[in-house]
Amino acid sequence: MVPLSYYLLLSGILFTCGVVGFLIKRNIITIFMSIELMLNGVNLSFVAFAAHWHALAGQVFVFFVMVVAAAEAAVGLAIIIAVYRTRETLNVDQVNLLKL
């Protein structure tokens, strides 16, 4: 049996990859994928704990997260397409008009 700490370590690595990707990447699509990576990292820790404690709540939460992520992906991709149509770029550093 794989110990809990292994799952958590992997979950942490996934989440950190997501954060770093979010921070350093300029392409919106990549940033978007980084977010998904973070979500999956969290999901992994949920299911790991659920299995470890024999509690179903963690599993159920993962489904919730997946549903929300799917909805978010739909909306997010729509926004990205709209941005691309108006600005003709996917570089977030050039999408910076919303400021004082």
Binding site: V19, L23, R26, D93, N96
Partner: protein, 645 residues
């Protein structure tokens, strides 16, 4: 059981008159304004007379409750009225003289563009003055006390476009604040120690207390503080400086407020509190000394004044000093007696002076008058009577009251008496000087070509002219009162009448009847001496006064400049106060601390937000970085705190 007298109507009537004239007077005719003012003031007088007629059937003191005011625990103050012998005398003097002066003002103020405003203020004054004399506790009295101060301020500054009038009004108001401060502290002390401000309750509590013999006690302090209040309102040393300046107001105002009624409020208040003063000999001595000094001091200033109203103003200060001298030697009824006769003859003097000023077209300098007796015989006659009365020539009113005061003063200390007689001599001198300079000799003024008062423009050309009858009638009535008003004092009748209200000095007579007659002779001789001296100096040898003045040199200059008291006050009190306020409080505290703190806080917030707003760069990744950093900090904190636990 007393019948209901509805005393509250007496002050309310003039208030109604003031309200009607104040709100509607601007649009109504002069005739309507006159009617309103005279009817409401006159009905207050009629009601006072009616009360006086029923007076003998009342059980005194008569008290009347009107409305709640303050109910705080066991401490209560109500709008309630109090009538005893003392209030009755004041009531009759205030309404009677007030009504006569209202009539006079109709003639005097007729051509003033603010005619309605004048009568509004005058009626308002009557309301407050009647509140003052009818109050049944110190606090309601204080309302009246402050209210007459307000009316006085408004009327002194009646011609407020004139700078001197406006500042004279302010001066009167501010100097009075000093006195009111003392008065209020006295009231607080009364509340603290007796738990009440009701006359009857306070006096009942005071009665069993012993006389405070050594040094100071509560009653002494209260007495002295009350006297500070009286000094302000009644223009005594050291707070008398506002009264001469108050002559900037119209002459009827000087007569009503600054001679006959308001300035005597202090005497009334001290007499009302006689139970307190009688148990505090130190306070009484203070009253007597202040009164005596003021009487003498103001009289000497009066000698050298050339403005006819200023002479009368200093004369008023001096006569008020007499009244306080009387109170100070415990002869409260004599003080009130002099208050009454003074109201008659000084009111008359001011009104006659107003008539003179009116006759010569607004001139107030006596050096530009002279020889007026053939032009304005009626004014001369009435003013002559008033002068005889104030000088103390028997059997006119002033003689009786002044003699009473001097006699009582002699029994306490011959020093008071000596200064009093000397003052009587000076009084007689400067009053006859005024009379001779104004009415005798040759007319020295310019001929009045154009007279300001159109209503009698028909005889407004050429020389001085007599005033209309509406002004002369009050003069004559007051002259009659000045002639016979003193007779009520014969045989101690006035004193016996007032005795239940202000106590009596009867039985304390230490000197014989012969002494009394001798002293009377001396004071009458002093009055005649002043008369003769004035006659010699201002009728027979008119060049002499200037020579004497030149001989006296700097002393004469000091007297002319009123002993430089105004200048001293300006240098010692006013200037440091203004400098302190402007340099330390304004430039220092307000500008550099309060303003600076507020401004710096504002600027600081501006600067900080100017820096912080660059965080909102529009750059998505920098936002994400801040969020991540924030989370990192939160997690670090949680770990650290968890470790600490």
């Amino acid at each position: 059981m007393n019948p209901m007298l509805n005393l509250w109507l007496i002050p309310i009537l003039p208030l109604a008159g003031a309200a009607i004239n104040g709100f509607l007077g601007k649009k109504s005719s002069r005739r309507a304004v006159t009617t309103i003012a005279l009817v409401f003031c006159g009905s207050a007088f009629a009601m006072a007379l009616w009360v006086a007629m029923r007076f003998s059937s009342l059980s005194l003191p008569y008290q009347e409750y009107f409305a709640h005011w303050i109910r705080s625990g066991s401490f209560t103050v109500d709008f309630a009225f109090y009538l005893d012998q003392l209030s009755l005398v004041m009531l009759l003097v205030v309404t009677g003289v007030g009504f006569l002066i209202h009539i006079y003002s109709v003639g005097y103020m007729w051509d003033d563009p603010s005619y309605y405003r004048f009568f509004t203020y005058l009626n308002l004054f009557m309301f407050f003055m009647l509140t003052l004399v009818l109050a049944n506790n110190y606090l309601v009295m204080f309302i009246g006390w402050e209210g007459v101060g307000l009316a006085s301020y408004l009327l002194i500054g009646f011609w407020f476009t004139k700078d001197s009038a406006a500042s004279a009004g302010k001066k009167a108001f501010i100097v009075n604040r000093v006195g009111d401060f003392g008065f209020m502290i006295a009231l607080f002390l009364l509340i603290k120690h007796f738990g009440s401000l009701n006359f009857s309750q306070v006096f009942d509590a005071v009665k069993p207390l012993p006389v405070e013999s050594a040094g100071t006690g509560l009653l002494t302090i209260v007495g002295i503080l009350l006297m500070v209040g009286a000094c302000g309102k009644s223009a005594q040393i050291p707070l008398y400086v506002w009264l001469p300046d108050a002559m900037e107001g119209p002459t009827p105002v000087s007569a009503l407020i600054h001679a006959a009624t308001m300035v005597t409020a202090g005497v009334y208040m001290v007499s009302r509190s006689h139970l307190i003063f009688e148990r505090a000999p130190t306070a009484l001595t203070v009253v007597a000394i202040i009164g005596t000094l003021t009487a003498f001091f103001a009289a000497t200033i009066g000698i050298a004044q050339t403005d006819i109203k200023k002479v009368l103003a200093y004369s008023t200060v001096s006569q008020l000093g007499y009244m306080f001298m009387a109170c100070g030697v415990g002869a409260f009824s004599a003080g009130i007696f002099h208050l009454m006769t003074h109201a008659f003859f000084k009111g008359l003097l001011f009104l006659a002076a107003g008539s003179v000023i009116h006759a010569v077209g607004g001139e107030q300098d006596m050096r530009k008058m002279g020889g007026l007796k053939s032009y304005i015989p009626w004014t001369f006659l009435t003013m002559g009577i008033a002068t005889l009365a104030i000088a103390g020539i028997p059997p006119l009113a002033g003689f009786w009251s002044k003699d009473e005061i001097l006699w009582k003063a002699y029994q306490v200390s011959p020093v008071y008496w000596a200064i009093g007689v000397l003052t009587a001599f000076i009084t007689s001198f400067y009053m006859f000087r005024l009379l001779f300079m104004t009415f005798f000799g040759d007319y020295r003024g310019a001929h009045v070509d154009e007279h300001g008062r159109a209503s009698h423009g028909a005889h407004g050309h050429g020389g001085p002219h007599e005033s209309p009858w509406v002004m002369l009638a009050p003069l004559m009535i007051l002259a009659l009162l000045s002639l016979v008003g003193g007779l009520v004092g014969i045989g101690n009748r006035f004193e016996d009448f007032l005795a239940p209200a202000v106590g009596s000095t009867e039985g304390a007579e230490v000197a014989s009847h012969a002494t009394e007659l001798l002293l009377m002779g001396i004071s009458v001789a002093a009055a005649f001496a002043g008369w003769i001296l004035a006659y010699v100096l201002y009728c027979q040898r008119p060049e002499l006064p200037q020579k004497i003045a030149a001989r006296l040199g700097s002393f004469y200059q000091a007297v002319v400049h009123k002993y430089y008291v105004d200048e001293i006050y300006a240098a010692v009190i006013v200037k440091p106060l203004i400098d302190g306020s402007s340099r330390i409080l304004w430039q220092g505290v307000d500008r550099k601390i309060i303003d600076a703190a507020v401004n710096d806080a504002g600027h600081g917030a501006g600067h900080v937000s100017d820096e912080v707003r660059h965080m909102q760069s529009g750059n998505l990744r920098s936002y994400a970085g801040w969020i991540a950093a924030g989370f990192a900090v939160v997690i670090a904190l949680m770990l650290w705190m968890g470790a600490g636990r």
